[in-house]
């Protein structure tokens, strides 16, 4: 049942993603990509459990590495997207 429920979420999210992104104008494609990329750092949530649970030395090392990589992805992604978006300005009417 769990599987059905997760697949259900998957399908809906993909359709929603298509609907949302279709409307993004070409001028914002780079920030869209880096912003979406930051969202894919959500894998951090999975990494946290791996790094903090009681486990073997191996799982803790792997989990910590996963946390570090995913954090670079999340922090770097959001900051660089913000830096780019701050530069987009509309023409000041003279």
């Amino acid at each position: 049942m769990e599987l059905v429920y997760l697949s259900f979420i998957l399908i809906l999210a993909i359709f929603l993603g298509f609907e949302l992104i279709q409307k993004v104008p070409a001028t914002l494609h780079t920030p869209l990509m880096s912003g979406a990329n930051a969202i894919s750092g959500i894998t951090l949530v999975g990494a946290l459990v791996g790094a903090g649970s009681e486990g073997t030395t191996l799982t803790v090392i792997l989990g910590t590495a996963a946390v570090a990589f995913a954090t670079i992805n999340v922090v770097g992604g959001y900051l660089v997207t913000d830096r780019m978006l701050a530069m987009f300005k509309k023409r000041v009417s003279k």
Binding site: T30, S40, T64, A70, T71
Partner: protein, 454 residues
Amino acid sequence: MQTVILINLSYTLAAVLFILGLKFLSHPATARRGNILSALGMLLAVVVTLLDQSIIDYRWILLGIVIGTVIGTLAARLVAMTAMPEMVALLNGFGGISSLLVGWVALAQPDLSNFILLTIFLSILIGGVTFTGSLVAWGKLSERISGRPFLFHGQRQVNALILLANFMCGVMFVLYPAQPLWLYLAIVLSATLGVMTVMPIGGADMPVVISLLNSYSGLAACAAGFAISNNILIVAGSLVGASGMILTNIMCKAMNRSLGNVLFSGFGAPSGDDDKLEGEVKSLSAEDAYYILEAAQSVVIVPGYGMAVAQAQHGVKELQELLEENGCEVVYAIHPVAGRMPGHMNVLLAEADVPYDLLLEMDDINPRMETFDVAIVIGANDVVNSAARENMNSPIYGMPIINVDYARTVFVLKRSMASGFAGLDNPLFYKENTRMIFGDAKETVNKLVREFSA
């Protein structure tokens, strides 16, 4: 039980924030707010996850987060806008390796069903391909390795074999999860596959590759979400996966090629049988170009990757202002695949303070190209190559281009007559109304600026 409900409710809220964030990204005026909302969603998801009862030790988490935050912050602050494609490629790769590792750790869970094992294998496969593929893309974009396609005889067969071996390895992995050999083999094969699929792709096709890797990084997170039965990973991962797919599709359409053609054809390898073009190349000095520009009523600027390489965007903006003071209308025409990633030119021009409403898309500019006095092509080649319209034998025949040759006069700023990335001759350079201004793009633009200021 109550913590579990709290965590899941917070995940729902985080998903809503991601969705709103992406929705706000659809307009430049609200995009920045959207990004912040999405970041808040991420923060919420991370913080509530720390409440999870299976987490008993926070030291390693803290270590990982500190390392990641320092590196991520420094990278985001220090990276030059021209290096953005490399940066995005690298970040995609880090997301990929992280999903691979999460999948690996998930293997330590008790009572794994075959389905969970399959999704663990998928997170390793997609995560591994994303990681090494992104590293190769990063190397190519930052010119640490050659941007030329790397091809050898029987490449497709070799890649097909690796893929097949990987799938067989996946079957063994699911059947015999206790045997670590299949796990290691899956990691090695996936990493190899990532390298092998990106190596044959040339620099000009990088916008497609980055979009595709972007999509993969989302799908890898999605697979990892199944592996640990976490719905926020599945939602966020599939949103990113869908977004990358759409960009990939837009990029492919803009080149009039299928995804398969981009990935497997090794496009951009030098070919020997180019027809020699007839005609005369007419060059022009910057001084003479100035006289023409001074008299122009309307100018369209068409930037390409060369503008990024020469860092000419600030000079271009200065030229735009001087032309406007002279009573001339100036707009920019941006081809979807100009540069090395989707929207590359827009970001560079935004950095130089060019208002985004002056940047027009190909379909908006082409119908009125005849009305422009001058079209200035700066460091673009394939996206204005009229062979795409005129020469049925050209490999890029049928690709939509910006029809600069319909403008009254075309200036092409170019270093030399060397062919573009695709290695093709460009008949535009030989047209009656085309004038070549040879030299470094930045130098030439600065010369024009000086002429105007004098």
